[in-house]
């Protein structure tokens, strides 16, 4: 230090010292200096601002783009702009046979693929006037409820992450992974199962499935208890969600909203109870609904619906009937593999089914089932050939997105994130 001058030493010290980066107290002239902005013209500060959110944004659940008109930090209106994930799946559906159709529709709502397959398969079966064996309907019900659990667990995870409860994301993902693993044991795939097909399901349940399912039920119940403890009474969580994004029953009905959004307004409408399909009128479960229509209520509904699904799944394990897992009509479902080696008929049926498919008499039908997000419907028009003339899926997220119109205005910008999250849109289904 001795050969350095005092000033030089201070300069080096200022460069290396952490304190050099902090704001120093104003001294001398700087204290009275006035900052003047030159240039212009500058916008009138009373003007509103249009802010673009997405399509690449972590809290837009994929590729949702929202145009927000802001006054300060208050959102005046929001317009969802969609189509970024449009892959023409309805057009593709017209090019695929009814046998291949499940593979296509399962990719629409990728968080609850089995609901898509169910709606499509039930529509085809109605056009064929096909009666399913009892075991097939119960296997379907078991799978769809397992899928509802995994979808709502995914919601709990992403909803937590969107609102800053990042540990919730890890926990939600943990139980969802267990559910997907079980679905993989049964169907062979974690997602996009292509398991529910016209005529039944693709395969019978694997040996020892009861044990695996019951073990999962316990694990999920324990998980839901943890989420409840972590979030429901958490003051930060309630601050972010209670009274945010309120929608009334009238608005929800007018805007075409279904599922947890409609049920959060005090309107207990669940297709599983109101217009029972599969064997839902045979099992005991409750429709969860709340009165306030806010983000917190939608969180709660989805949380407790997991427990209702667990209830249904337990009854499926207890009461799973014996019998066939698909109709034994060789014009609709393929023969067992072993039969192909010994029977010419079986070989022909197998070949015809997987090349040409089966023909469906001309007609049109609409089948609606309750997916985790609301009413998923399949409008199917057949022209008597082996491929549909029109395959339309009414994706609940597509309609639910419109309910943003009623929820967002008047809230803060940060609330918009909470609201989008609480709608739980799956963009694959919105854009198809």
């Amino acid at each position: 230090m001795s050969d350095l001058t005092n000033a030089e030493a201070r300069r080096l010290e200022a460069q290396t010292d952490e304190g050099a980066q902090e704001l120093r107290p104003l001294t001398g002239d700087a204290r009275t200096q006035e900052l003047v902005l030159t240039g212009g013209p500058w916008p009138d500060i009373d003007d509103t601002m249009i802010l673009n959110m997405g399509p690449q944004h972590p809290s837009t659940h994929g590729v949702l783009r929202i145009m927000l008109e802001l006054d300060g930090e208050t959102v005046l209106r929001a317009k969802p702009v969609i189509g970024y994930l449009h892959t023409g799946m309805e057009k593709t559906g017209e090019e695929l046979t009814y046998v291949q159709g499940s593979t296509n529709v399962t990719r629409m709502d990728y968080a609850s693929p089995l609901s898509n397959e169910l709606a499509f398969s039930m529509a085809v079966e109605r056009l064929l006037d096909l009666e399913l064996p009892e075991r097939a309907t119960w296997i379907r019900m078991l799978l769809v409820e397992l899928n509802r659990m995994s979808s709502h667990l995914l919601f709990q995870a992403t909803n937590g992450m969107d609102l800053g409860a990042v540990s919730m994301m890890i926990y939600g993902w943990r139980e969802r992974e267990l559910t997907l693993r079980l679905l993989e044991t049964i169907t062979g795939l974690r997602m996009n199962h292509n398991f529910i097909r016209p005529g039944g399901v693709a395969a019978d349940l694997p040996d020892g499935w009861q044990h695996d399912v019951l073990e999962l039920c316990d694990q999920v119940e324990r998980g839901v208890g943890e989420y409840d403890t972590l979030l429901t009474e958490n003051p930060i969580w309630r601050e972010r969600t209670v009274g945010v994004g309120v929608i009334t029953t009238g608005e929800a009905l007018a805007l075409g909203a279904t599922g947890p959004i409609l049920r959060s307004t005090g309107f207990a409408w669940d297709l599983r109870k109101a217009q029972p399909y599969l064997a839902y009128d045979d099992v005991d479960f409750d429709v969860i609904y709340t009165e306030n229509g806010d983000v917190f209520d939608r969180y709660q509904i989805r949380l407790y619906e997991i427990l209702e699904s667990v209830k249904i799944v337990r009854q499926c394990v207890e009461r799973m009937p014996a019998g066939d897992y698909r109709v034994q009509d060789r014009k609709v479902t393929p023969p067992p593999r072993a039969r192909i080696d010994e029977s010419m008929e079986a070989l022909i049926h197998h070949f015809k089914l997987f090349t040409e498919g089966f023909r469906v008499p001309a007609g049109e039908t609409y089948v609606a089932v309750e997916s985790p997000r609301g009413e998923i419907g399949c409008y199917l028009v057949s022209d008597g050939t082996a491929k549909p003339n029109r395959l339309h899926i009414r994706g609940p997220s597509f309609y639910n997105l419109q309910s943003m119109d009623a929820m967002v205005p008047g809230g803060m910008l940060a609330d918009a994130v909470a609201i989008v999250s609480s709608i739980d849109p799956i963009m694959g289904e919105v854009d198809r």
Partner: protein, 185 residues
């Protein structure tokens, strides 16, 4: 399957008597409508000009609280078509699904839309929830919904030419340009 089979199997009664009270009311209010029980579901074929009035009737007089869906269908290359013989079929159909929560029932209403004048009244003023589906039908079929508040493309890019779900709009490769594209997508 031959045409003879179709006539026998599909929907041979032209003037089926509605077993459905809403359909009966619709037929009485809008003469010329045709009722069909499509695999157990009530379907009423109505005149295109009456589209808005039908929706209004269903909403105000018959407690149909939600319009679940508005769908377009193109019948350009349909070998056989399920439609009652007493109506004049056109290339396009617009289909609306209504749901009444109070009465727990559904009804489906179908109107014929010609290719020369692909337009029908919008019911978005009655059921705001059909805003998106009507835009989708416009986008993919080119059917105009007269009176719609914001009839723009919704799924395809704004500068897209054609309507992809029309049967004569072939699925094809789209050249992607990155340089000098006037509207990057």
């Amino acid at each position: 399957m031959s045409d003879d089979d179709d006539a026998a199997n599909a929907r041979e009664p032209d003037h089926e008597v509605p077993g459905d009270e809403v359909a009966a009311a619709l037929l009485e209010r809008f003469p010329g409508s045709v009722f069909v029980a499509s695999h157990g579901q009530p379907v009423v074929y109505v005149d295109r000009a009456a589209w808005h009035d039908v929706a209004e009737f269903l909403r105000d007089d018959q407690q149909f609280s939600q319009c679940m869906d508005v769908v377009g269908v193109d019948h350009l290359v349909a070998p056989s078509r399920a439609a009652p013989a007493s109506i004049t079929t056109e290339r396009f159909e617009v289909v609306a699904n209504f749901l009444s929560h109070a009465r727990n029932r559904r009804i489906r209403v179908i109107a014929q839309v010609s290719v020369d004048e692909p337009a029908i009244a919008s019911i978005a003023d009655l059921y705001p929830g059909v805003n998106f589906p009507e835009r989708e039908t416009y986008d993919l079929f080119g059917i105009e919904f007269v009176g719609h508040p914001d009839l723009t493309r919704i799924l395809m890019p704004d500068d897209w030419v054609g309507h992809p779900l029309r049967k004569d709009d072939a699925p094809a490769r789209v050249p992607v340009t990155f340089k000098g594209d006037p509207s990057p997508r």
